[in-house]
């Protein structure tokens, strides 16, 4: 079938719909006028204000710590689970798979509610621990899925060949399979980091007054008012996820593209 010009017009229009709000948001973060959409000249003062706001700095720190720890935990556990599972399609393997698919199918609100009850019934101040535990639960399946996709593409005969040439299984794994798996492991870690950074629902239900994360902080700010400061904060947040997602994308796709 011939490609009609209407089709590409519709495609570009939909992309414009997806991006226009983000561009408007970014543009107005540089607007000197505080109220409304009148352009009052270019300024970076809203960004400067962010860096002197202790609440924002504290919640950014919390988000970074939680995302760092939970993505590290999920990279280790998720990768080990993929390697342990092997390539078999036997019943045991598929029964294990269910563990990883369930969290991807349950609405996030349910997970949030479950964690609220779980940590609510444990009395006492647990600090960032509830956030780390809940985010790790959310990100383990993600890492598992990304690493598994790559693991299945690796030819098992490569590891066998190393063993035939005198390597132990462990050496063969470390020197052959793991390096081939590495782009997916790093991509999985980055996606886990973004997911944790991004998670609002679970954090909102689980975090306390002293353990606010960045999205929870943004939520309370925009419940209060629309201000260019929120535009500036949102712009930085958007750029951070943008950089992480594009890097993960290149890691996953770059090598595949080279193989084709």
């Amino acid at each position: 079938m011939r490609r009609s010009p209407w089709l590409s017009a519709a495609g570009w229009a939909t992309l414009a719909f997806l991006y226009l709000p983000l561009f408007v948001l970014v543009a107005f973060s540089f607007n000197a006028s505080k109220y409304g959409s009148a352009w009052g000249g270019f300024t970076l003062s809203w960004y400067a204000k962010l860096f002197s706001d202790n609440k924002i700095l504290a919640s950014t720190w919390n988000s970074a710590v939680v995302a760092g720890i939970s993505s590290a935990l999920s990279v280790v556990m998720g990768t080990l689970a993929v390697v342990a599972r092997g390539r078999g399609e036997e019943a045991g393997g598929r029964w294990q798979d269910a563990f990883f698919y369930v969290p991807l199918l349950v609405p996030e609100l349910m997970l949030a509610v479950g964690f609220l009850l779980f940590f609510g019934l444990i009395k006492g101040d647990l600090g960032l621990l509830p956030l780390v535990i809940s985010h790790t639960t959310l990100t383990v399946p993600l890492v598992w899925l990304i690493v598994k996709a790559r693991f299945e593409k690796i030819d098992p005969r490569l590891e066998d060949a190393a063993v035939d040439l005198g390597a132990t299984r462990w050496q063969a794994f470390l020197k052959v399979t793991l390096p081939l798996l590495m782009p997916a492991v790093v991509a999985g870690g980055l996606m886990a980091f973004v997911t944790s950074l991004d998670s609002f629902l679970i954090s909102f239900f689980v975090s306390g007054p002293s353990t606010t994360t960045l999205p929870v902080q943004i939520y309370s700010m925009l419940k209060f008012s629309i201000s260019p400061e929120v535009n500036a904060l949102s712009t930085l947040f958007f750029l951070a996820s943008f950089a992480l997602v594009v890097t993960a994308w290149l890691l996953q796709g770059g090598e595949d593209a080279a193989l084709h």
Binding site: M1, R3, L7, S8, A10, G11, T14, L15, F17, L18, Y19, P21, L22, V24, L25, G36, S37, A38, V76, L80, A81, V83, A84, G86, Q96, F99, F100, P103, L105, V106, P107, E108, L109, M110, L111, V113, G114, F115, L117, F118, L121, T136, W144, D198, F200, F205, P215, I218, Y219, L222, K223, I226, N231, S234, F237, F238, S241, F242, V246, A257
Partner: protein, 277 residues
């Protein structure tokens, strides 16, 4: 299984143990708490009661649930209609372009939901760019665009559109276009070829996208909360309110399980439909 291999297997235990503990226990707690009684200052008293389930059938809550279902249905339909052309266009683009387009759809998708909703809140606000544009064109008072049902629908579509585009694209990308060419060689009009060949073959992607959009819309509480003010209440808002505002955990849990049941019924229906086709 060799000894070595069984050692190997143990590497998976940490992840499995983690998920059983931190997924299994919280889910079981929702069920347990839904059968308990509300404590005097919120929290739970472990006295068995079916009271929370009785309240589920209150007309007020049934109303909210059916409105949420209707909104989720509308959102699914709108996402399918808007998502199909772009997914089709992506699938028919050159290989190089396809990679770039998938990334282009993924980026808004991975942008924080609050950032995306704030963007709309800003655009639709009383003194936002859209209203200033309208006022300078037509004069008069700024329109109330934010905190309306329309704003919620717009937000829901904006947020969930990638859930529809990506599975649809994945299906269309693998489609054997020779079949469409063959239909046209046999004198089918483009219209006939589309409805008789392309659309039926795109069905798995359409179903997958519809399930994702539907399930995620039903579990949403942020979109109506932010773009609807307090005027649009969905099942998610009800649950949020019971847990965090009214601190009625047993009723909140019963509502959550009610929502899960609705989602489960939807998935089951979709699966049967798919099996029948």
């Amino acid at each position: 299984m060799s000894v070595e291999e069984s050692h190997h297997r143990r590497l998976g235990w940490p992840a499995l143990a983690w998920l059983s503990a931190f997924l299994g226990v919280p889910m079981a707690l929702i069920a347990a708490v839904s059968l308990a009684t509300k404590g005097p200052y919120g929290g739970v008293e472990w006295a068995f009661s079916l009271g929370a389930y009785g309240r589920l059938f209150d007309g007020l809550y049934i109303g909210v649930f059916s409105r949420s279902l209707a909104l989720a249905g509308l959102n699914t339909l709108l996402c399918a209609v808007l998502g199909f052309p772009i997914a089709y266009w992506m699938a028919r683009s050159s290989k190089r372009m396809q990679g770039a387009l998938v990334l282009a759809v993924l980026i808004p998708f991975w942008t924080n939901v609050l950032v995306r909703l704030y963007a709309w809140m800003f655009i639709l606000g009383r003194s936002g760019p859209l209203n200033s544009g309208l006022v300078s064109l037509h004069g008069g008072e700024p329109a109330e665009l934010l905190f309306t049902r329309g704003a919620v629908v717009l937000g829901l579509v904006y947020e969930h559109l990638p859930f529809m585009i990506l599975p649809l694209y994945a299906t269309l990308e693998k489609l054997d276009w020779a079949l469409v060419d063959a239909a046209q060689d046999l004198y089918a009009t483009p219209r006939q070829a589309f409805f008789k060949i392309t659309l039926p073959l795109a069905r798995p992607g359409l179903t997958a996208g519809a399930i994702l959009v539907f399930v995620w819309t039903l579990g949403d509480f942020v979109t109506p909360d932010i773009l609807g003010g307090s005027k649009v209440v969905m099942a998610g808002n009800l649950i949020h309110q019971q847990y965090l505002v009214l601190r009625d955990w047993p009723f909140g849990s019963a509502l959550s399980l009610g929502l899960m049941a609705v989602v489960g019924a939807g998935l089951f229906a979709a699966k049967r439909q798919e099996a029948a086709a």
